[in-house]
Amino acid sequence: MPLIEKQFFGRRPPEITDSKFAGRLFVIEGADGSGRSTQILLLSQWLESEGFAVQHMGLRRSTLVADELEDAKQGNVLTHTTMSLFYATDFFDQQVHDLVPALRAGLIVLADRYVYTLMARDIVRGTDRGWTRNLYSPALVPDAVFYFRVGARQLVERNVQKNATLDYWESGMDLGLSRDMFDSFIKYQRLLAAEFAAMHAEFGFQVINANQRIERIQRELRRRIGKLLGIHAASA
């Protein structure tokens, strides 16, 4: 793949001196239960069969703070601002230690969520939009962002099927929207969806209707990514 000068949302951070990369970054965004990990797994298989090396990234996976973030999540003792900054630290640690080296080495990086989820979560919790945009301005702009859109009701269905329970954070219980977890989940996911909808145009999301069957979604993704990589997508 040819070297491409990658852009940052704002100014280039000081630790990344050269941002010409051979690799590509594709991001999948969407709520829990929207099918992100299934699709990423299938995409990886396909890309590897086409001879591309793949690397994954996601949230809360940094060496620096992932464990501490997990502790904080369990204890629910951090304020929103502190939590935002902690997540940002996690993201920028991964960006410099995992993402950038992979892109430099010419890998395809598939991100299971990216800064958009972090920004949406912050904004739904009352953080100033300008503040959170500034926070993530030293992040790399992906080559494409696919947003999986699923209705809130369907999300409940899938989450309950998968875990037999709703997750405290994915239900936005810390927001006090409702004491009823089901109610809170629906309200919280709708707030997030509205925030994502507001981001579509600004960040050029490609919206995928994730209410469809797995195979169909995969075919759609392969077609779009294949075009970007100059390969023909075989059927899923």
Partner: protein
């Protein structure tokens, strides 16, 4: 998010200055003075939140930190202390004393190459102090005070992560001189109250106490008498 009006009845006093400027000694003496006089006072220092300490020390030990994550982890530490201690205590009517405040981040992180505008927006959630004392010393004096005993300099403290020099002492000098420039440039922008920190400790302290008394009506901060 930036508060133009102050949503609290307390007062915030911060001290800033180079390592070796003597600011920690001065703020300690202010704390003792206010405590012994019976005022409601709370002291907080830079990089001291227990919650994020583990990550900070891990990052520093393993040399994982880059300018951006170094900056963010300190911002996380600050936000934790700000949201849980500084702001609630200001609202509860305390005099909060801060040994280093957001200006330390502005200075050090800018030296590490972070964008100043990014930094200022990052810390926009924090109010500016009622008084920020800047303990001003010539660079050579502060370097002398720190380096005299040939101490073991910490990696980041010495700015060794910048790769300017392999010699910790040389690196420390270079780093401090740039931090010094940053501070000097902030004096006007953030209306620092400059204290000549080359004078004797008790002289500085009496000036600091005088300035505090002039600018803050301390009578409102007295603890109720214990019966």
């Amino acid at each position: 998010m930036a508060d133009t009006q102050r949503p609290y009845s307390g007062k915030l006093i911060a001290v800033e200055g180079l390592d070796g400027s003597g600011k920690s000694t001065q703020i300690y003496l202010v704390k003792r003075w206010l405590e012994l006089e019976g005022y409601r006072v709370f002291f907080t220092e830079w990089n001291s939140s227990i919650l994020v300490k583990k990550s900070t020390s891990k990052g520093k030990k393993r040399l994982l930190l880059t300018p951006t994550t170094f900056s963010l982890i300190h911002a996380t530490d600050f936000a934790d202390r700000y949201d849980r201690q500084i702001l609630p205590l200001l609202r509860a009517g305390y005099i909060v004393l801060a040994d280093r405040y957001i200006y330390t981040a502005f200075a050090r992180d800018a030296v590490r190459g972070c964008d100043r505008d990014w930094l200022e927006k990052l810390y926009q959630f924090a109010v500016h102090p009622d008084i920020t004392f800047f303990f001003r010393v010539p660079l050579e004096v502060s370097l002398g005070r720190i380096l005299e005993g040939r101490p073991q300099l910490k990696y980041h403290e010495a700015g060794l992560d910048m790769g300017w020099s392999a010699d910790p002492y040389e690196s420390f000098r270079m780093f401090q001189s740039r931090v010094h420039e940053q501070y000097e440039a902030m004096i006007e922008q953030f209306q620092f109250t400059v204290v000549n920190a080359t004078r004797e400790i008790h002289q500085q302290q009496s000036e600091v106490r005088r300035l505090i008394t002039e600018r803050i009506d301390l009578s409102g901060f007295r603890r109720p008498a214990v019966r």
